[in-house]
Amino acid sequence: MSLLQQLIDAVALGALYGLVAVGIGLVFGILRLVNFAYGELITIGGYTLAYLSGQPSVVAIVACFAAVIALALVQERVAFRPLRNASPATMLVASFAVSFLLQNIYLLAFGSRGKTVSTLGGLNTALAVGSLRIRWISIVALIAAAGLLAATTLILNRTNVGLHMRAAATDFRTARILGVRADRVISFSFVISGFLAAAVSVLLTVQSPLVTPDYGVSVTIFALVGVVVGGLDRLVSATLGGFAIGFTTSLVGAQLPSSSSVYLPSVVFGLVILVLILRPAGLFAPARRAVERV
């Protein structure tokens, strides 16, 4: 496999992790909630696709989006809204509880053996460009991620609800004093977050079609690590961090001899520790502006 081909796969995986990072980062910005249960949104999307694999792709994908967004709103309403004034640590622990609860519900409802998704399976075929063989899913993932990131940016920068979200992420109290509706902004951030999780479900199940109860956990952990590495405070740096971790994982994985592939997480997390020692505020975090205006 040529280096160029590895780079293309790495960019595609990075884009996918970048999407997860945006989904997590959006909600964090507003609620200071690190939603560990984000992975279970991806998982329910996977199950929806698996159970609807016999249906036309459009039907399965629309149902996937509906199920994931619905679960995101339920998470917000049932688990996180009552804790809105709690400390970030309390909310983080609560999100662990939600994550484990949902994983066990999946285990009871769908069994431990996993369900296979065949929707969009055709995207695993490769496109030959000269000596390069690029899988269609890499191309689709890249385009979809770029489109979704652009759409999210447009919503944040060009709409009123986006303006309210940006204000709430900076200073929620002042935003509410100005009349920004807390419930609406938070619900909307969960809707976007769920929308992105559903897109990840669709793209991820093409590459790893076997959906198990803990399906979304590892991608979420990796993306969360990426978000921290990039810098949690800003959506852009969080997204770049997510991208970086996916990119690195894919590239290091391709470079490691297959006999050493068990060491992949060790290598990646070793790099993470190095980055956090050198730049504790985040790899992509801007230098602090300490000037107070008078």
């Binding site: 303006l163 309210h164 900076t170 200073d171 100005l178």
Partner: protein, 237 residues
């Protein structure tokens, strides 16, 4: 007697059992400017935050044209017609000046007369128009204060609450801000002004209450601005 625009009635505020405001009652009639002064920690800011629904009311009530605001959320109160210019301005530094101003629309009831209000606000604070494309964090402190007041006005509030608008500003900017407050009142907006600058406030407001040690100590009329003895006694009590 008609209902006052804003009535604070035997207000109690406590932070974890420690009283911040005890039994405060005051009224602001429609179109009036009422001052609220007193030493640091007297409970002035807490009073404004309680009116705005940010800090819970432990006892008593706050009424807007006779309607109780107790237990309402800040966004509900904002949409009911009260706007707060918070202490320290709290503009959004990463957003542009124009975006900061647009946020004020969140609390506005309907878009009627928006063009006219925008022109008026731009006339009142030309910097807000001139620097509309800049990020608000790049403005000077005085410009940020003008933006914070403009943002509150764009909501077309019935009652405007200001928390130390002169804090940290150069004397000429303080003059600009107070001149603007006079124009805002002339437009029919009711104002409750919390300030550190005691004499300036007493001379400017229709009447001024002195808050010390969480309680109302003294009420002064505009012509009593030079009565520094009573003022000092109230502060030190």
């Amino acid at each position: 007697m008609p209902e006052p625009a804003l009535a604070v009635d035997a207000l109690e505020i406590r932070y974890g059992g420690v009283p911040a405001v005890r039994g405060l009652s005051l009224e602001v009639g429609k179109g009036e400017i009422v001052g609220l002064i007193g030493p640091n920690g007297a409970g002035k800011s807490s009073t404004l935050l309680a009116i705005m629904g940010v800090v819970p009311i432990a006892g008593g009530d706050v009424r807007l044209s006779g309607r109780s605001l107790r237990g309402r959320s800040p966004e509900w109160i904002s949409r009911a017609g009260i706007a707060l210019v918070p202490e320290g301005r709290h503009i959004f530094p990463d957003l542009t000046v124009a975006e900061n101003l647009r946020l004020g629309l969140a609390g506005r009831r309907g878009r009627d007369g928006l063009e006219r209000d925008l022109d008026w606000v731009h006339g009142l604070f030309p910097v807000v128009k001139e620097f509309r494309a800049r990020s608000a964090g790049a403005l000077s402190g005085g410009q940020q204060q003008q933006l914070a007041i403009a943002r509150a006005l764009i909501a077309a509030p019935d009652v405007l609450l200001l928390d130390e608008p002169s804090l940290g500003l150069a004397p000429t900017v303080v003059e600009t801000v107070f001149a603007a407050l006079g124009e805002i009142r002339d437009r029919g907006v009711t104002i409750l002004l919390v300030e550190q600058r005691a004499q300036l406030t007493v001379a400017f407001a229709d009447r001024t209450h002195v808050l010390a040690n969480s309680e109302l100590r003294l009420t002064l009329g505009r012509d009593e601005a030079l009565d520094t003895e009573r003022l000092a006694a109230a502060y030190l009590s």
